[in-house]
Structure formats: structure tokens, C-alpha cells
Amino acid sequence: MTGAPVLALRGVSKRFGAVQALTDVHLEVHAGEVVALVGDNGAGKSTLVKTIAGVHPIDEGTIEWEGEAVSIARPHDAQALGVATVYQDLALCDNLDVVGNLFLGRELKRFGTLDEVAMEKRARELLDTLSIRIPSVRIPIAALSGGQRQVVAIARALVGDPKIVILDEPTAALGVEQTAQVLDLVERLRGRGLGVILISHNMADVKAVADTVAVLRLGRNNGVFEVAGTSHEEIISAITGATENAVTRRQARLAEEAK
């Protein structure tokens, strides 16, 4: 994992009125790397992701794409660069079938009409390479399980051949087996050389698939860890602000009383 990161945020700040949502945040994502973005509620994870996806333009700092400074002002800019975002609430249409959803907004056409054959073929190829198994590519999304929907949502992000995939809480509300399927898929994305930003509250998931963990706390970086050499507790303490929390206060008080 040498060379310039595919995506790098340097000193990014974002302010909403009186609220300083992000302050001087740094983040790097390399090709073939899974970066977990963790932090407590309100730490700025969603805001950070939205700045990358072009929903909220940044106020200060720079975003670099393959070493070059770029400006991402609209969702379209992010998509054009090769950033695909899978949002927490699934962005799928229940009534359309899997093929329809995968190609929604970028249908393949032939003589000006929808080319269902080509789309179905490509959908199958895509799902096959990701080893995604669903009952049929021609059944409506409404008939799929939660895990299958999540997997389709992720596959949908890949139709545009992105280089960075952002997954916002992909395993929230999924069962054990479905979570495993999604985590498998994340690993396959990494195997294909994509950079993955994974937002998760679930430490088990983070430890399972991520290479790097970037911790946000109150809109600031609070440490970047290699997953391999880091314990669960260290990450938790970075998330909660280890030196100042209920646990340390209690320990300090007990120590005080013991004197």
C-alpha cells in the first residue's frame, strides 16, 4: 500500500452556522484498504462522509484525489471522480427488480429504449464476481431479505466502477448471517482494489474487516490505528475520550478516597 492515497482529506473543516461540525480533520484511504470510521453519535462521521460525497462542500482544507487537489461541490462531482456512497437507509426502490435498481439512473439503452438484455447480463456478471447470491435478478427488491437488500445496494454502488466506496452503517439492523454476508462483500471489494470507508458502531465488524481505524471525536481526529496491533479497549477509549470519562473519573475518585 505505497504511493499516493486514492483519497486524502487534509485539514478539512466544516461549519453549520454556530456549530463547528469538523475541525482540521485528516483522513487517507488507499486502494485495497478498508478504513473504518468510528466515533460516538455526533462525532462528525456522517458529516465527514457527506463532504466526501459532495452533499456538504467543505469550508476549509483540501481534498486530494490520487495526489491531486480536487474540489467536490456537488454529489455529481464525487460520482465523476469515482466515489460511490451506500447510505444507511437503503436507497433502493422496493417495486423495481434487482436489475432495475442496479441500473437506476444510468440505464443501458439500445435504439433509445431500455436494453434489458444487456443490463441483466451485466447485473449477473457483477453479482457473480462479488459472489452475491439472490433468488433471482428479476424479482422485486420488496421480496428480498434485509441482508440481500444491503448487498444489492452495495452492488448498485459498484455499477459505475468507483474507486472509493463509502458504506454508512452497512450492518446496522442485520442478522448474524446477513452481517457476515455483507462483511464478506466488503472483503471482496478490498480484493478488487477498491478503497472502502466503513462507518460502523459495531467494534466486532470493525475488527473483522478493517485495516485501519480512524477515530473521530467531537469533530476532530482522535487517533488512527492499525487494526492488527490495537486492542478493542484502545479504540473504545479513543472514541469516548479515554482520559476523561465516567470510568476514569470514578477511578480517580476512588483513588482519592483511598488516600
Binding site: H76, Y87, D89, L90, A91, L92, C93, D94, N95, L96, G100, N101, L104, G105, R106, E107, K109, G112, T113, L114, V117, A118, E120, K121, R124, D128, T129, S131, R133, I134, P135, S136, I139, A142, A143, L144, S145, V176, E177, T179, A180, Q181, L183, D184, E187, R188, A204, K207, A208
Partner: protein, 431 residues
């Protein structure tokens, strides 16, 4: 925590990708819906669909057969060619409005103004041509253009301002029937130009009863259908996808051929192919094509299935909504012209009464969901056939209007219940 420990009971999902090509056939999920080939597979899939609440057109087709049989049994002449021809002439007006309703229902919305829009458009066309001396074609064009403007206005308030469509179009219901009366002026009734375009719209028979037209339409339609199906199947096979087996294509073509040729035979027993039938069928086929085969149609379904998802996919939701309300108003205008042609005049009550309700009922009875995202324009044809058959049949046995309303209401309720129940079944059938 990787693949091995997580899915012990489902080897297919747990097998890493590289292992698969060694097997001669790719490992399949046990739940995968594999279709058996041939007719057996077709029937099995059909049964499965029924079980999952995907009833499609089956209830309405059965209903039509039942209605035909009952009234034929009572009156003895319900299925006579002249009566059936009359039914086909009467369905064009409400049927075209129902096509517009289908578009709006696909968005999961409702348009209550369509009856008034039909009335206002008919009034505009009749007044311009019969009173102001404009050419009839131009008058009709202006009437349709006015309806499109009305639709754009209503769509704007719904899509851009965020007023519920129900309320916008309820306001429209009042406003446009006011416009209708205003245009008609004091007299209240304007006769269409004698033997002109408007007068002939609903009453002209192609070639003045030449049997070639009905037969020709039936044969061409069946041939095009068969060719389309066959070419599609060949292309799918070439691409390595499951295609419809020849036996199924033959079966479908056969059913269509029987229906189309029977209809042609029946029409030719009377006066041949009526113009309203040709127009209505053309509109249904064209709109069906737009909905199923163009990205615009796909966008309509997407907005009806999930507004947020559609927006994130880059679809201009406001434009889709406004354009759909324009289409529905435009269809209503066409329907209004056929109504005016049928009664030979435009008056204050055209498009009033149960016109709107019949059209909505037709769309729903035909199988278009009230909940958005599911339906096709063919349901307008099937549904209006049901409604018009009931109305005509009840007229023939001299049931009075009050009872007719109640019966039509009951049929609508039954259709909506079926829609709701099948929607629920579909949800529980989800795996």
C-alpha cells in the same frame, strides 16, 4: 470472524469465489428460483406468482368472463355484435382518462380533477370550432394544450410547493368545472360541428365498415407480438440468459391470436373497426411501451417506489411528477373529446357525475395499485371493459341508476380490497 464461522449452514454463500469454477455447474443458493424449462416451468412459475399475491390480470379477466356469461344468460343478447360494438365505442372516453389515472397512480398519487379537465377541454374544443369558427383540428389541439397547461400548473403546486396532490386536484376539480361553465357561456350546451372531426371521433368506422381493417389490425398485432417475443428470446439466449421457451411464446401468441381474431370477427359482424377502438388501443400500446421500455417510464416507477431512492439515483423527481400530471391531464382532454363526440355536444355536465370515479375504478379494477409503483396501462383497458360491461348489462335489464351506482361502488371496493390483500400477501411472501 470471517466466512467460515459465520454461515455454516449455507455452503453456497460461504464458499470463497475462487473455488467455484472447478465445479462444472456454479454452486447455487438452494433458494434460487430456477425455472424449469418448457410449459411445466411456466405453469409452476404462474402458480408461485398466484401464491405470492402477484395476481396480475387474472381476477379481472375472470371477472369479465363472468360478467359476460351472467348478462348473456339474463338478456340473451348481451354478447351480440352490435351491443359489444357499442361497448367498445363507449369505453374510449373513460378509458383514455383511466390511462391518465394509471400514470398518476404509479406515482402513488391521485388526480381528482380529471373529470373537470375532460369537461373543460371538450367545452374549449366545441366552443372554438362551433362558435368561434376555428378549424376543428386546431380547436382540438388548443383544448389538449390547455389541459397540458392545467396539468403543469397542478403538477407545479404538488411537486415544487409541496401541496398534497389530493388537495391540489380537489381545488382543480372545482376550478376547472368553473372554467368549463365559463367557456360554455349562457347557453350551456354547444353542439359539435355536424359531421366534422369531433362528431366522427367516436362514431366513425374505418373504411366505413370494410372488414379488412379489423382483420388487418388483429393479424398485424399478433404478428408483431410473436416477432417481438421471438427476437427477444433469441437475443436473451445469445446473451446466455434464461429465455422464454418456444412453447411459452407459442401459448402466449395463441391466446392473443384467439382474443384478437375473435374481437375482429365480432366487430366485423357489426360495422367493422370503430375509430375509438383504434385510438384507445394505440394509446394503451404506446403508453405501455413508454412505461416499460424507456428510462422515462423507469423513472416514473422509481419515483412511485421510493422518492428518496429515485432522487439519490439522480432522477429529477419534480420533473417526473409535473410531467406525469401533464400526461394525465392530456389524456383526460382526449377522453373529454371522445365524450363530446359520443353525445354530439359539450355541456356543463360533461365529465361530471361518475366519470372520474369510473375512470379511477377502471384503473384499480384492472390491477394498478393505489399504493404506487405497480401497474400498467393495459389495466385501464381491462378495467373500463368491466365497468362498461356492468353498466351496459344493468341498463339492458333495466336496473335503475341508483342500484347501478351501488353495484359499481361494490365492484370498486372489491378491487381495492383485492389490491390491499395482494399487497399484504406480497409482503409476507418476501423472504
Amino acid at each position: 470472524m470471517t466466512t467460515e464461522q459465520t454461515t455454516p449452514d449455507e455452503p453456497a454463500a460461504a464458499t470463497p469465489a475462487p473455488a467455484e469454477p472447478t465445479a462444472s455447474t456454479p454452486a447455487v443458493d438452494p433458494r434460487l428460483l430456477v425455472r424449469e424449462s418448457g410449459l411445466a416451468g411456466y405453469l409452476a412459475e404462474f402458480k408461485q406468482k398466484m401464491k405470492n399475491g402477484d395476481l396480475g390480470s387474472v381476477p379481472v379477466v375472470l371477472g369479465l368472463i363472468l360478467i359476460g356469461a351472467i348478462f348473456q344468460g339474463i338478456t340473451g343478447n348481451f354478447l351480440n355484435p352490435d351491443n359489444l360494438t357499442h361497448i367498445t365505442q363507449w369505453i374510449a372516453g373513460p378509458g383514455l382518462i383511466a390511462v391518465g389515472i394509471v400514470f398518476v397512480l404509479l406515482l402513488g398519487e391521485i388526480d381528482l380533477s380529471l373529470g373537470s379537465v375532460a369537461g373543460a377541454s371538450a367545452a374549449i374544443a366545441a366552443v372554438l370550432s362551433a362558435r368561434s369558427g376555428y378549424s376543428e383540428w386546431l380547436s382540438c389541439l388548443i383544448a389538449v394544450a390547455a389541459a397540458l397547461a392545467i396539468g403543469a400548473l397542478q403538477g407545479f403546486f404538488f411537486a415544487k410547493i409541496g401541496v398534497p396532490a389530493f388537495v391540489v386536484t380537489l381545488a382543480g376539480l372545482l376550478a376547472w368545472s368553473g372554467l368549463q361553465e365559463y367557456v360554455l357561456g349562457d347557453k350551456g350546451t354547444v353542439n359539435v360541428v355536424h359531421d366534422g372531426v369531433l362528431a366522427n371521433l367516436d362514431n366513425y368506422f374505418l373504411g366505413d365498415g370494410d372488414i379488412v381493417y379489423a382483420w388487418g389490425l388483429a393479424v398485424v398485432a399478433v404478428a408483431l407480438f410473436a416477432a417481438g417475443q421471438f427476437l427477444d428470446a433469441r437475443r436473451r439466449t445469445a446473451a446466455g440468459l434464461t429465455a422464454r421457451p418456444v412453447s411459452e411464446i407459442a401459448l402466449r401468441t395463441g391466446v392473443l391470436a384467439v382474443v384478437a381474431l375473435a374481437a375482429a370477427y365480432m366487430l366485423n359482424q357489426d360495422r367493422g373497426l370503430p375509430l375509438p377502438v383504434l385510438v384507445f388501443l394505440t394509446v394503451v400500446v404506446v403508453t405501455d411501451f413508454v412505461l416499460r421500455r424507456t428510462s422515462y417510464g423507469r423513472q416514473i416507477f422509481a419515483v412511485g417506489g421510493g422518492v428518496e431512492a429515485a432522487r439519490r439515483a439522480g432522477i429529477n423527481v419534480s420533473w417526473v411528477r409535473i410531467s406525469v400530471f401533464m400526461i394525465s391531464a392530456g389524456m383526460a382532454a382526449l377522453g373529454g373529446l371522445f365524450y363530446a363526440s359520443q353525445q354530439g355536444s359539450a355541456d356543463k355536465i360533461l365529465g361530471g357525475g361518475n366519470v372520474l370515479m369510473n375512470s379511477i375504478a377502471a384503473a384499480v379494477i384492472g390491477g394498478t395499485s393505489l399504493f404506487g409503483g405497480r401497474g400498467k396501462t393495459w389495466s385501464a383497458l381491462l378495467g373500463i371493459l368491466v365497468i362498461q360491461s356492468i353498466t351496459t348489462g344493468l341498463d339492458m335489464v333495466h336496473v335503475n341508476q341508483a342500484i347501478q351506482y351501488m353495484i359499481t361502488g361494490a365492484v370498486l371496493l372489491a378491487a381495492v380490497v383485492l389490491d390491499s390483500v395482494s399487497r399484504r400477501t406480497r409482503k409476507t411472501a418476501a423472504r
